[in-house]
């Protein structure tokens, strides 16, 4: 078919097929191009370009601007032009504006490379008399630069050059450019002979892996000279350096090339632009920070005096490789890493190629870090080029082979994508564009055909996901090989290198960690194989907590007791969330760790948040009771109940650690768990020991009665019973029940003990541990003291016969909610008692301010405040008749006119104390009420509270407790009551 026969209609349908978004205009252009092109051929070639509309627009402009001759008849030239026009608006505009030079390049089948020659020719003086002005030279240099850039881009686009080659050429071009600029500057400044300046490339230029367009990082160095010449040499060389920057980046006819960034120099923007080699040395000896040494990894002489450049690079080597020995290396590195991740504005996370986990910076950072850690002893890995360094690290066993391949592929993919994005407008950007058209063009450029935009995004997502996953293991996987004893041909990292690395990752005792890793991974058992697989990521998770050493030890213990259980291994292998949570739990809580060792089946609750919500009390009672009744006797039944209780404790504590539930819910769940244990124990007692016809009810008191139990709380209870027959045998039965209950929950067994405490009963330790309703009535009518009324405020029927329980509560109602509040004498009693308790009950040698329970503004103060108001006003305000501290607190504005902010302060103080107290138990596994002021414990608590600075926790506690204490004093000691 002849191109003349292609009607506009047909053209239109072709363009539709080619994905044109701008049909009318493109049809029109195509129609006009009939004279120059064989449209048939053109359309075939257009189908290979990334953006048909763009190509047509640029082509039309070229046609309008240039004398074409046979240009479009040459298949090679035509192809090159069309490809270029579809990728880079900026470069094709350059061609349109400079048609003679560019078309010559587009015609060339075989490109020759010699940037140095080309650029120095551009700025050479044509004759002795050629007085080239500075801006002349600058413009010529820039234009020639763009011609060379065009060559690089063409080789890149046509697939003649790999990514590595392209990046290398871009760096070489930058070198040649600065070399030429330096010649011009020297010509201009005419410095003395002893002023020998060298330009050191840093960053991507230093690594010879430059982008199409980005800042070129440079340091300026001059040779050392005698003291008396120093100021002159510095003055001259600074002038040259400034002029070089001017030539490359100042506004001129030809647009600036790129910024020369000299901010990596000592003292950054404030520092001297040029220094002597020994002045740099002085600085690095004394002042440089970890990131500066890291940046020196890339240092390379790029232009100017070679000798000076090389001596500079030789001079900095020892500094780089000693960086890992510095005191703060670990924390520096951690905070640098954090900064990398945190610095991305949230809106850009998905589109940002450079920053973020799995982004380019992250990959580069990881490789540099490994170089810093191990390069001291191993010179083989000291390359300044990212991919070369990665290869070396892999060859010598510092990075796993597969990991390296994934990293490499991700890095190249993201860099290629970045190149294509930048080429379009030649703009320095690392952001993925948003428009579908742009995405589609980029997708097609990277080889995605149909659904190019979608394919690109998916692929990017996949790469980053892989890189992110791998990142977690990158540092840890080779550690395993290092400790493996098996002989093999694989090159391994040395044991010393492994210790160095563990220390760099935050392990306090790396030798012990090595032993644990050895234990966990040696051998050919299934356990060892699975653990070898999962340990790298477990170590990574642990290193994020303040106590990786403790976590690893406990992981080893767990593995020792569980390692042969198939389901345990399967669970770890399949359920990554379980593993992740397990790793953190083991680091922060020996209490949970030891329970898990004893009830490993409970580990399954770690698998999802749904599993972490406390279970319904009724469901618990059912399970506990039925399990207990299947046992041979009551003692075995309680043991079964305790095992279930332990599993539930793990659930609650885990939810607490990961803040799936609030402290209020934790306290309530712990109380309900106790309710269920006591209720099911009561039911099974009746089954196992049927006795006389007697009803028993268990009344909870104290924090248990208030449904505000902590991990460390005892269950304060009283027993009430009522029978119809002979009192003696009935009371014997009730006594037996009470003491058996107490004993069976206290004996050492699988689950943690639960201390059942009867000490709040009438007459305390001297009184009978169970009484009938009428016996209680008699006692309270005769003997009752104010403190007993106060204790009864928290009475709640927790288990056993609920009708009897309610009868008991009715019986004590007049005591705890007295009709006219407290009498004057009672008021004085209760106030003096509190004052006495304050001075007597606090342990010696402890700063009261940090006693969470008994200190000023602590739990006890706030609870007294609440109970004090209840005793005085609950009779008239039924809303106060609650056993819950928080519920009553919320009534205090209404009842005694406390300001709302005061109520909030009290609530916050009480909750913070309760939370910290619970965490202390989880972290130290002992019952402590004192907030430590500096220690690992405090650090872990800060970690659990998501507070970075542990001193802030002390400050926060002191503030809240001070306010709470003030409010407490105003009410309990000072409120006038008559």
């Amino acid at each position: 078919m002849n191109s003349e026969s292609l009607s506009v209609q047909v053209l239109r349908s072709h363009l539709v097929a080619l994905g044109s978004a701008n049909l009318d205009e493109s049809v029109e252009i195509l129609d006009k191009l009939r004279d120059i092109f064989d449209l048939e051929e053109l359309i075939a070639e257009l189908s290979l370009t990334a953006d048909v509309d763009l190509v047509l627009q640029q082509t039309a402009q070229l046609v309008a601007n240039a004398t074409l001759g046979d240009f479009f008849q040459l298949p090679g030239a035509r192809h090159r032009w069309l490809q270029l026009a579809g990728v880079s608006k900026a470069l094709s505009v350059f061609c349109i504006q400079n048609p003679i030079e560019s078309m010559e390049i587009l015609r060339t089948e075989e490109i020759t490379w010699n940037f140095g020659q080309a650029l120095s020719a551009a700025i050479a003086l044509n004759s002795q008399s050629d007085a080239q002005s500075l801006s002349d030279a600058s413009n010529r240099l820039r234009k020639q630069y763009r011609i060379e850039l065009l060559k690089i881009a063409l080789a890149d686009l046509l697939g003649e050059a790999s990514f590595e080659t392209t990046a290398l050429r871009l760096s070489d071009l930058a070198d040649a450019t600065l070399e030429a600029a330096l010649v011009v500057a020297v010509r201009e400044v005419q410095p003395s002979a002893d002023c020998s300046l060298s330009l050191i490339a840093m960053g991507k230029t230093g690594g010879r892996e430059l982008n199409y367009i980005s800042d070129v990082d440079v340091l300026f160095v001059v040779d050392d000279v005698a003291e008396e010449h120093l100021s002159r040499v510095l003055r001259e060389s600074t002038l040259i350096a400034q002029m070089v920057m001017h030539i490359v980046s100042s506004p001129q006819m030809e647009l600036p090339l790129w910024q020369i960034d000299a901010n990596l120099r000592p003292e950054g923007k404030d520092g001297a632009l040029v220094r002597t080699v020994s002045s740099y040395k002085n600085y690095y000896e004394r002042w440089a920070e970890t990131w500066e040494y890291q940046s020196l990894l890339k240092a390379r002489p790029m232009a100017g005096d070679r000798h000076v450049g090389e001596s500079f690079v030789a001079m900095v080597q020892p500094f780089i490789w000693r960086a890992a020995e510095r005191e703060n290396f670990v924390s520096d590195v951690q905070s640098m890493r954090k900064r990398v991740i945190e610095n991305i504005p949230a809106m850009h996370t998905e589109r940002e190629l450079k920053l973020g986990v799995g982004g380019l910076r992250d990959i580069e950072f990881a490789i540099q870090l490994l170089q810093l850690v191990h390069g001291k002893t191993d010179e083989a890995i000291r390359s300044s080029n990212t991919l070369v360094a990665l290869d070396c690290l892999t060859r010598w066993g510092y990075v796993g082979r597969e990991d390296a391949e994934t990293l490499r592929a991700t890095y190249i993919f993201e860099r290629q994508l970045e190149h294509r994005i930048q080429m379009f407008e030649m703009q320095r950007t690392h952001l993925l564009p948003e428009s579908q058209a742009d995405l589609r063009r980029l997708g097609r450029l990277l080889g995605f055909k149909a659904e190019a935009a979608d394919g690109l995004l998916k692929s990017l997502h996949q790469y980053r996901y892989e890189a992110r996953r791998l990142h977690e293991k990158l540092f840890y996987k080779p550690l395993l090989q290092a400790v493996a004893r098996a002989d093999s041909d694989v090159v391994r990292m040395s044991l010393d290198a492994a210790i160095t690395r563990l220390a760099a990752l935050g392990f306090q005792d790396p030798e012990a960690a090595i032993r644990h890793i050895q234990f966990l991974t040696s051998g050919v058992s299934r356990r060892a194989i699975i653990q070898r697989n999962l340990l790298p990521v477990v170590l990574a998770w642990m290193a994020d907590t303040p106590n990786p050493d403790g976590g690893l030890l406990r992981f080893r213990n767990l593995s020792e007791s569980m390692g042969e259980t198939p389901w345990y291994l399967r669970l770890l292998r399949d359920e990554s969330l379980v593993l992740q949570r397990l790793a953190r739990l083991l680091c922060v809580s020996p209490f949970i760790a030891s329970m898990l060792e004893r009830t490993p089946e409970a580990m399954s609750v770690l698998g999802s948040d749904d599993q972490l919500f406390p279970r319904e009390k009724s469901a618990l009672i059912l399970e506990m009771q039925q399990t207990a009744l299947r046992q041979r006797d009551f003692a075995a039944g309680v043991e079964a109940i305790r095992r279930i209780r332990q599993r539930e404790l793990i659930r609650i504590a885990t939810a607490d650690v990961f803040q799936v539930i609030t402290t209020e819910i934790v306290l309530q769940a712990l109380s309900e768990l106790t309710d269920a244990a006591l209720e099911s124990a009561y039911q099974s007692y009746l089954e196992f020991h049927p006795g006389p016809n007697v009803e028993i009810s268990i009344i909870g008191l104290g924090r248990y009665g208030g449904s505000e139990m902590a991990y460390s709380s005892d269950a304060d209870v009283m027993i009430v019973f009522e029978g119809t027959g002979e009192v003696e045998s009935e009371s014997a039965y009730a006594f037996d029940f009470a003491s058996t209950l107490q004993r069976t929950f206290a004996t050492p067994a699988v689950g943690p003990t639960l201390k059942i405490d009867f000490d709040l009963r009438p007459e305390g330790k001297n009184g009978p541990i169970a009484r009938t309703l009428s016996s209680y009535r008699e006692y309270y009518e005769k003997w009752s003291l104010t403190w007993e009324s106060q204790a009864l405020l928290r009475a709640r029927c927790v288990a056993g016969n609920s009708i009897l329980g309610q009868d008991f509560l009715n019986l004590i109602a007049p005591l705890r909610f007295p009709e006219h509040g407290l009498s004057e004498i009672e008021l004085r009693d209760i106030r003096t008692m509190k004052a006495r308790v304050e001075s007597e009950r606090l342990p010696r040698g402890i700063d009261p301010k940090f006693h969470l329970k008994l200190g000023p503004g602590g739990l006890s103060d706030i609870e007294w405040l609440v109970q004090f108001v209840q005793l005085n006003f609950a009779h008239d305000f039924p809303d106060l008749k609650s056993t819950s501290t928080i519920t009553v607190l919320e009534q205090l504005t209404k009842v005694i006119g406390l300001s709302e902010s005061d109520v909030v302060d009290c609530k916050r103080a009480w909750l913070l104390a309760a939370t910290i107290r619970n965490y202390l138990y989880l972290v130290d596994s002992k019952d402590s009420d004192v907030l430590p002021s500096q220690s690992l414990t405090l650090k872990i608590i800060a970690y659990l509270l998501h507070e970075e600075n542990s001193a802030n926790i002390l400050e926060q506690w002191m503030r809240l407790s001070r306010r709470a204490r003030k409010i407490f004093t105003q009410v309990v000691y000072e409120m006038p009551l008559t």
Binding site: R286, E327, S950, A951, M958, R962
Partner: protein, 445 residues
């Protein structure tokens, strides 16, 4: 590291400095010093020098007392009174905990926190103190009245010239330490001197005041005299105050200046004054921290005892000085209750916080007090809405105890320590039988 640090190390080498004194201030405003050799300095910059915090007033609890003093290179100065050979230099320090975090007990950190809060609102805080003190012939034995070096008064040129010589040497030495002096003269009482420092940002000024007190005491010793910053050494003469001019800047612009407004005082300036007035009773314990401070405030004359402001009213708590045409950037207000024995870090921190509170909450400025407040009757003052300042350390403590503003500004640790310490001071004082009681009561009772 930065230029400053490099400069410090270079200077130490060049000037053959043998010792570096690391200075910091305890919660009560006493200067503490630890000397180190130059070889230890790099370590000090990187990690700080460890010391036992429990030995310092208000720093730490006994069983967790390890602390670190980290020098601030920008405060480096050679001490001029130690001579040119084998010189000694000093730097102020920030106090850190072993984990690297700042210590909440460090007064310098208290001020830095307050300043950074101001910075969040876009302000920098400048102060300019006029420091009064007494020169005595010697430190008398306990129970004997001190003897001033002369018996002349305000602005007098004393013929003996001892005070004159003293001021000249002190000023030379201050200037040698980079502390600019604006003005100096003889004050109202015998032996009383005043030296005014050039205005600077509050942190620098606080450091300068600490240095100033040391220099003045040092120079006095050299001349065989004794200098004291005690707020009120004589019943019959005025005490030593530290009137302090304050201003806020937004960048280069004085935020207190508004052309055309009354006294050219901007809205920000008015609200700042209102903030200080509103919170004056509760911050007084910090500004006037000694039992003796209240003797000065009770003495009348130049010392204010009532919460009010005025324009050129020397009995007011805050004075808005006369505006000098064409000097927009010198707009400022003057607090007159502050005395020379305060802890300047804490004092500036609470003043700034109170002022900022006024700005944040847009407090209205009460009417100006035009009369001499001392000459009004109690009823007149009440009618004018003029409250008294606390009249004793005890009432100042009570007012401070109720203050969230002070607690927040000082941080809970310093707040708690300060109150406990001051209550103890008051308890000790009120048990004393004074010469006045003996003189009055013994003859008749």
């Amino acid at each position: 590291m930065d230029k400053q640090t490099e400069f410090v190390l270079r200077t130490i080498e060049e000037r053959d400095i043998r010792f570096i004194r690391l200075w910091f201030t305890d919660v009560l405003g006493t200067l503490k010093s630890v000397a180190i050799a130059p070889a230890e300095l790099e370590g000090a910059f990187e990690e700080g020098i460890g010391f036992d915090g429990s030995a310092i007033e208000g720093f730490a609890r006994v069983h967790e007392s390890d602390m670190l003093a980290k020098p601030d290179p920008s405060t480096f100065q050679v001490l001029p009174w130690r001579g040119d050979t084998n010189s000694v230099a000093r730097m102020f320090c920030d106090i850190h905990m072993p984990d690297g975090s700042n210590s909440y007990a460090d007064p310098r950190f208290v001020l830095k926190r307050a300043l950074s809060k101001a910075a969040d609102l876009g302000f920098t805080f400048y102060t300019h103190p006029e420091i009064e003190f007494f020169l005595f012939k010697e430190l008398p034995p306990s129970g004997v009245a001190p003897e001033p070096i002369d018996s002349v008064g305000y602005f007098d040129h004393s013929p003996s010239g001892k005070g004159h010589d003293f001021r000249r040497s002190a000023i030379t030495m201050l200037e040698a330490m980079g502390i600019s002096v604006e003005f100096s003269h003889h004050e109202g009482a015998p032996g009383q001197q005043e030296i005014d420092l050039r205005y600077a940002d509050a942190l620098t000024t606080a450091d300068n005041i600490m240095t100033f007190r040391t220099v003045v005491k040092e120079v006095a010793l050299q001349q065989g005299l004794y200098a004291s910053f005690m707020p009120k050494p004589f019943t019959q003469y005025p005490g030593s105050g530290m009137h302090t001019h304050m201003s806020l800047f937004e960048g280069d612009k004085n935020a207190f200046y508004e052309p055309g407004a009354a006294f050219q005082l901007s809205k920000v300036g008015k609200a700042f004054v209102a903030g200080i007035l509103h919170h004056a009773p509760e911050i007084t314990a910090v500004l006037n921290q000694w039992v003796n401070s209240y003797k000065r405030l009770a003495g009348g004359g130049e010392a204010p005892a009532h919460v009010c402001w005025g324009h050129n009213n020397r009995s007011a708590l805050i004075r808005v000085p006369m505006y000098k045409p064409g000097k927009g950037n010198s707009s400022r207000i003057e607090i007159r209750s502050l005395d020379s024995a305060t802890n300047p870090y804490l004092a500036f921190a609470v003043l700034l916080s109170a002022g900022l509170k006024g700005i944040e909450n847009d407090y209205p400025l009460p009417a100006e007090a035009e009369d001499n407040v001392w000459s009004l009757t109690d009823i007149e003052r009440t009618a004018l809405g003029i409250r008294p300042l606390p009249t004793s350390l005890s009432s100042a403590i009570s007012a401070m105890e109720e203050s969230e503003l002070v607690a927040e500004t000082l941080g809970e640790h310093v707040f708690d320590f300060f109150l406990r310490n001051k209550r103890a001071e008051w308890d000790e004082y009120r048990k004393q039988v004074t010469p006045l009681e003996l003189a009055k009561h013994l003859p008749i009772l």
